[in-house]
Amino acid sequence: MDAFTTHTGTAAPLRRSAVDTDQIIPAEYLKRITRTGFEDGLFVAWRRNEPDFVLNQPQYADASILVAGPDFGTGSSREHAVWALLDGGFRAVISSRFADIFRNNSTKSGLLTVVLPQADVEALWAAVEADPATQVTVDLNARQVSYGSTTVPFEIDDYTRWRLLEGLDDVGLTERHLTAVDTFEAGRPAWLPKALPVV
């Protein structure tokens, strides 16, 4: 995956809570077998049906940071939701709460998910609504979001931060410990099921 160190761009205020992954990308766009090219499905129902939807507004069309309401990414485990956001030009999503699977998926593909208190999200919404050209910086090194004269720290565990900063592939990291996997496997009871055909 691409490394994430720091990113500066404009931000789109998505004033909705519990945005589920079916809204981020509906199921009909999941039939592709590639890992890119999902931008056409990103929030497609809202983009088509709601003329004033935030991403339909020209001042937010080039935003690369999404600032969403609480509980972003609920529902389906589809990693396509992360891919669609990346394909749609987003490098970071800020919310006061993320659904677990979505957040986990985001760390595998280099989309930074930043948790800020809801009051800080509200302040950021107000700032980018007042001036859509506001430059927002998400700095993973310093673990902080800054815009104008405001700087807000955020928390992220050291291990995930290191993986994102280095752009590391989890499989490669685990392969360093295959001896431990061999040892564990040797101790598994023989009666555990195998998915081989039973005649």
Binding site: R15, R16, S17, A18, D20, D22, Q23, P26, A27, E28, L30, K31, R32, I33, T34, R35, A45, G69, P70, D71, T74, G75, S76, S77, R78, E79, H80, V82, R97, A99, D100, I101, N104, N105, K108, S109, D158, Y159, D170, V171, L173, T174, E175, H177, L178, A180, V181, F184, E185, R188, P189, A190, W191, L192, P193, K194, A195, L196, P197, V198
Partner: protein, 474 residues
């Protein structure tokens, strides 16, 4: 130190633990399907990797398979390409696949238990959030993304952080006509769609212990709709009786050894939970959702909520958005809501017991003239069992459609979809905007409410019907 059930299963699978790093967890069973796996196999090929334990991996076709003419080539070329990619990948990497037409094909979370691949104490993952279903057997089972699918294929492990522990205790006796689906809809309405975030839920209490395995699967299935990592239930005599004799379940001395181990899989006295919720089963009634997430549900005797009554600005806005999408007016009694379509099926309620409950209510009657009812068994095995019991005739005679197995209208990746503005009563798990088809409106219900609703054309509890036996719909 006393441990919860989930902690016991987790600890038994830790391959490696190091300070400041996630644990490496061994995965006993990896279920895959056509939608979330192709990019994972491409990743393996690109890195020159292989599948470490193909015999611990099982593939099936479920998400976008048609439920009519299943032996003909899939008409939609994109769906067809995805199914063909799975077939090619399974053949190349030596993974068992239950394709369309196979006796073992079906929704991935229905076939695992049906084949006995799902057993207590296992770790089970799948690129699908409803993997929590398998927790009904006392397994630690959770949904993963495609990058993690690739990781499990390559290493049979996953890096994991220890989840927090939550207990949902349901005591007392469920009233007639109130089912496991109503219990879980009530739980989600109570704690919200984020109520269990970061937690594994253990469902316990006398009402849970009294449930069949099918009903326990319905409850664990929707754990994700409360935001949980997983949901599980301690295995007991009901679990063992369900498993014994199934194809992949151990036999003879191995069975005895397995049962001895499985019997240790319960939460120790004094083990701590980070959060606890209690429900009294005897107070529950059939639940239906009115909004666009599974937490927006109410007892069927209720009315569509008024945004003005919301606790805060965020909830007010969410309620307004939901009512606008659903085409509902605040104050409308839920029983006055007419539906166009009833969908009986999915990994939540597509098992034999669900079909039996609905068929019992429909037997000898005909569904409402303006309503269509789609009955989609969760697997080929469920379909065969239902046909052996004559349930297909009951549904057909009542005017319902009897289809092939798959995910179908739960997520509308195949041709089974709502049209814009159409309204369904659905036994599935998600009422998100557009979930069952662009512009479609979904009310989540139990199989009994689905059948009663099909008969009247409006959201209906089984007890609302004339001449219903007191114990129908349980």
């Amino acid at each position: 130190m006393p441990k919860t059930l989930a902690e016991k299963v987790y600890d038994a699978h830790v391959v490696r633990s190091a300070a400041g790093e996630p644990d490496l967890l061994y995965i006993d069973l990896h279920l895959i399907h056509e939608v979330t796996s192709p990019q994972a196999f491409d990743g393996l090929r690109a890195a020159g990797r292989t599948v470490r334990r193909p015999e611990l991996t099982m593939a099936t076709e479920d998400h976008n398979v048609p439920t009519l003419d299943i032996l003909a080539p899939i008409a939609d070329p994109v769906s067809r390409a995805q199914v063909e990619a799975l077939r090619k990948n399974a053949a190349e990497f030596g993974i068992r696949l239950a394709p369309m037409g196979d006796r073992d094909q079906g929704i991935v979370h229905v076939i695992g238990p049906q084949l006995g691949l799902t057993q207590p104490g296992m770790t089970i993952v799948c690129g699908d959030s409803h993997t929590s279903t398998h927790g009904a057997f006392g397994a630690l089972a959770f949904g993963i993304g495609t990058s993690e699918v690739e990781h499990v294929l390559a290493t049979q492990t996953l890096p994991q952080y220890r989840p927090k522990q939550m207990a949902v205790t349901v005591d007392g006796e469920l009233p007639p006509g109130v089912s496991a689906k109503d219990v879980i809809l009530a739980v989600i309405a109570e704690i919200g769609t984020n109520g269990a975030q970061g937690h594994v839920i253990e469902y316990r209490g006398s009402a849970i212990e009294a449930l069949s395995m099918e009903a326990r699967m319905t409850i664990c299935n929707m754990s994700i709709e409360a935001g949980a990592k997983a949901g599980l239930i301690a295995p007991d005599a009901t679990t063992f009786a369900f498993l014994q004799g199934r194809p992949h379940v151990p036999q003879g001395a191995d069975w005895d050894a397995a049962v001895e181990y499985w019997s240790t899989l319960r939460t120790d006295e004094g083990a701590g939970f980070d959060r606890e919720v209690h429900l009294d089963a005897s107070t529950l009634t059939p639940y239906v959702t009115w909004g666009t997430n599974p937490g927006q549900g109410l007892p069927i005797a209720g009315s569509v909520p008024d945004p003005a009554d919301a606790a805060d600005e965020g909830e007010r806005r969410a309620t307004e958005q939901a009512l606008a999408y659903m085409g509902l007016t605040a104050g409308t009694p839920l029983r006055d809501i007419s539906v166009d379509t009833v969908f009986l099926g999915s990994c939540t309620n597509g098992r034999i017991e669900d079909l039996r409950v609905a068929a019992e209510l429909l037997r000898g009657k005909h569904i409402d003239g303006n309503t269509r009812m789609l009955v989609v068994p969760g697997s080929v095995g469920v379909k065969a069992q239902a046909e052996a019991e004559g349930l297909d005739r009951v549904f057909l005679d009542a005017g319902a459609e009897w289809r092939g197995a798959g995910c179908s209208m739960c997520l509308g990746m195949n041709p089974d979809q709502l049209k814009p503005g159409e309204r369904s009563a659905s036994t599935s798990n998600r009422n998100f905007q557009g979930r069952q088809g662009k512009g479609g409106r979904t009310h989540l219900v139990s199989p009994a409410v689905a059948a009663a609703t099909a008969l009247t054309g409006k959201l209906t509890a089984p007890a609302d019907l004339p001449d219903v036996p007191a114990n129908a719909g349980v």
